[in-house]
């Protein structure tokens, strides 16, 4: 990474104050996305993938969420400290987000067009308060965006209501909406999880195409390793609120270092592989109301040692483009 990263998350700790006690959702997350790069965040459900990125745009209500420490630097600006007015100039304009379930992320009582025009006008207003509303122009822009995401007949589809569109079409609309402000960074939170497999591939291709086209930096959150392998340059593997391994796709997926990553890769089903050979990591995610002292993976780790009862430290390789959070690499490591 030669350029300064577009987005950098440093030592990010976040708790949820619940009725049952303090839920330690994130514990020292470190991530970075370079300009024009794409980063995948993978991990099982509940490991903190979505929570990590939600606050980039200030989307976690507080309470219950409480930031304990850390910084989310967007081009050097700490997103955890910006004012609401500054945030409005970033939402959708600098950083945009698309979400998991296209069925529930569009307002059911407004047409697609109304919602897109609203977003476009909101961006104009955030940038320049004195600008006069031009709905016609905004609508033209919306149609253009819908065409860009390959929605058929955008001129007529724009006046439809969300329930009249299929899931794949709705996700296209959401992508069009997110990209209507020409953002520099796109955060896609499980963009294909709720879709049929065939549609998943189309949406992924679309995202890849748009990223290329618009020179976007991207963060894709998913629990589908195939998606990451297809679209991303780098990958961060998360487990129980921590990034346990980070590096390029080739390095992490080709030569996994962390025992959790190894387990994850072994558990992918292959058509040629008989089901009885399919590996499953034993045990469950630890309860983060009372996280284990030391390594959070120790109870499920096949290589656990005595020292795993103390917190591991991030170990980098010489080039600093790969990190592993594990006691096995106390002495550091070199790329194999």
């Amino acid at each position: 990474m030669t350029d300064a990263p577009v987005l950098e998350i440093r030592d990010y700790r976040l708790n949820f104050n619940t009725f049952d006690g303090v839920y330690h959702a994130l514990d020292g997350v470190n991530l970075a996305v370079g300009k024009g790069q794409s980063l995948g965040i993978v991990g099982e459900t509940g490991c903190g993938k979505s929570v990590t990125v939600r606050n980039v745009l200030g989307l976690l209500p507080s309470p219950p969420a409480e930031v304990v420490s850390g910084e989310i630097l967007y081009n050097g600006k700490d997103m955890l400290k910006v004012t609401p007015a500054e945030m409005q100039k970033i939402r959708g304009i600098e950083i945009a987000m698309i979400f998991q379930d296209p069925m529930t992320y569009l307002n059911p009582v407004f047409t697609i067009g109304t919602q897109m025009v609203d977003v476009i006008l909101a961006h104009q207003k955030a940038l320049d308060k004195s600008v006069r509303k031009n709905k016609k122009q905004a609508r033209a822009h919306a149609i253009e965006m819908l065409r860009k995401v390959h929605l058929p007949n955008p001129e007529s589809q724009i006046d439809r209501y969300p329930h009249e569109l299929s899931g794949g079409m709705r996700q296209r609309v959401l992508i069009a909406m997110a990209l209507s402000g020409s953002p520099k960074l796109l955060i896609a939170d499980e963009p294909t999880t709720a879709l049929d497999v065939t549609i998943q591939a189309q949406i992924l291709d679309l995202i890849a195409e748009l990223v290329e086209d618009m020179g976007l930096s991207v963060i894709i959150i998913t629990h589908d390793l195939g998606v990451v392998a297809k679209v991303c340059d780098n990958v961060a593997v998360m487990y129980a609120g921590q990034v346990v391994e980070y590096g390029t796709i080739e390095e992490v997926f080709g030569k996994p270092k962390h025992p959790y990553t190894e387990g994850l890769l072994k558990s992918i089903p292959h058509p040629g592989k008989p089901p009885e050979e399919l590996y499953g990591i034993p045990g469950f995610l630890p309860n983060l109301l009372t996280p284990p002292i030391g390594c959070r993976f120790q109870d499920r780790c096949p290589k656990a040692m005595e020292i795993c009862g103390t917190p591991p430290k991030n170990r980098n390789n010489a080039a600093h483009d790969r990190t592993v959070l594990c006691h096995l690499y106390e002495e550091g490591f070199e790329d194999a």
Binding site: Q88, G92, Y105, H123
Partner: protein, 336 residues
């Protein structure tokens, strides 16, 4: 949409006929001899029989019913034994008074209730919310006539701000009858002093009558707003940079209004029944007072006519609500 309106209209006619059968049976099975009452305390049996024949009470019930229903289609609702005038003529005088009161009450309840619910939801658990919840709980609990009496005592007698009852001062001539609603007639005939006087008389009874409706509108709207604000499409709107005001006032409120509308319709219907109490307290010459007098005098035909009007009113308001529902929610439109 048109199909829906057609289907509902036919259904409504059927329901009205059913209502007629029920009220007719109940009022004719009830004890008490209206003919004897009408003939007076000193009447001979002969005179009573004569009255009975005159009003048709001597015919078999089924025949009486057929005659009654036939009359309704000709605008003949029978004759009041008590006022000795045709019921239809009486209602022309009393119904507009009640309608006016009910309309002002529901408007007051909506205009105050919806924003209160919204503010309460947005500032959940703040002091405004606590105050609103206190007021709305007491509104559901307080008997309407008691509230009316208290308002009369304090604002009428003690402070002298508002008149104790009636639609106008004794010495004021009512405006020329156009709709029978004094405020509207006064405006139409440009008698502004009469308009303000009528409005002045309206304040206390309208507040007392609207209170239960206000309370339930606030409660439903608050609950729906809280729920809607936490939905996925609100998160998306926020992430895309939609302003907070627009999110609350348009995106959330339009969705929250759907269940609120249902309760508004229901309350609007109930209000007409509630006027019996309020009109007695405030000496308001409307349908409620008319019905009360008729019931105490065993005067069948006015009671039946008022019941019919109440039923028709209830159905009509729900019919209107269904139409507004269709306008607000695109998902309802196709269905009948």
């Amino acid at each position: 949409m048109l199909q829906m309106i057609g289907k509902r209209s036919i259904l409504m006619l059927g329901m009205l006929l059913g209502l007629l059968v029920i009220t007719f049976s109940i009022s004719h099975i009830a004890p008490g001899d209206p003919a004897a009452l009408a003939a007076g305390p000193d009447a001979t049996q002969e005179m009573i029989d004569q009255v009975r024949e005159e009003y048709g009470f001597d015919k078999p019930l089924v025949e009486q019913f057929v005659i009654y229903v036939g009359g309704i289609f000709e605008g003949d609702l029978g004759r009041s034994v008590y006022t000795t005038r045709p019921v239809a003529q009486d209602l022309m005088v009393y119904f507009p008074a009640t309608l006016e009161l009910v309309i002002y009450s529901i408007l007051f309840a909506i205009i105050l209730g919806v924003p209160m619910g919204v503010i309460s939801a947005v500032k959940q658990n703040g002091w405004v919310d606590n105050l609103v919840r206190f007021v709305s709980s007491s509104g559901v609990g307080l008997p309407m006539f008691w509230l009316g009496l208290m308002l009369q005592l304090y604002f009428g007698l003690q402070l002298g701000w508002f008149p104790l009852g009636g639609r106008l001062d004794l010495m004021t001539d009512p405006p020329t009858t156009i709709t029978g609603m004094y405020t509207i007639d006064a405006l139409l005939t440009l008698k502004f002093n009469v308009f303000f006087e009528a409005l002045h008389h309206m304040v206390l009874p309208a507040i007392a009558l609207s209170f239960p409706a206000l309370a339930s509108i606030v409660r439903v709207n608050r609950a729906e707003m809280i729920e809607t604000l936490s939905l996925d499409y609100m998160t998306n709107a926020r992430a895309q940079g939609i302003s907070k005001f627009r999110m609350i006032a348009a995106y959330a409120l339009k969705n929250a209004m759907l269940p609120t509308l249902a309760i508004i319709g229901l309350r609007f219907g109930w209000m007409l029944g509630g006027t019996v109490l309020i009109e007695s307290v405030f000496d308001w010459p409307g349908v409620g007072l008319y019905a009360l007098q008729a019931v105490t005098a065993s005067d069948f035909e006015p009671v039946m006519a008022v019941t019919l009007i109440l039923g028709a009113w209830f159905m009509l308001t729900n019919f209107l609500i269904d139409i507004i529902y269709g306008i607000l929610d695109p998902r309802v439109r196709g269905r009948a």
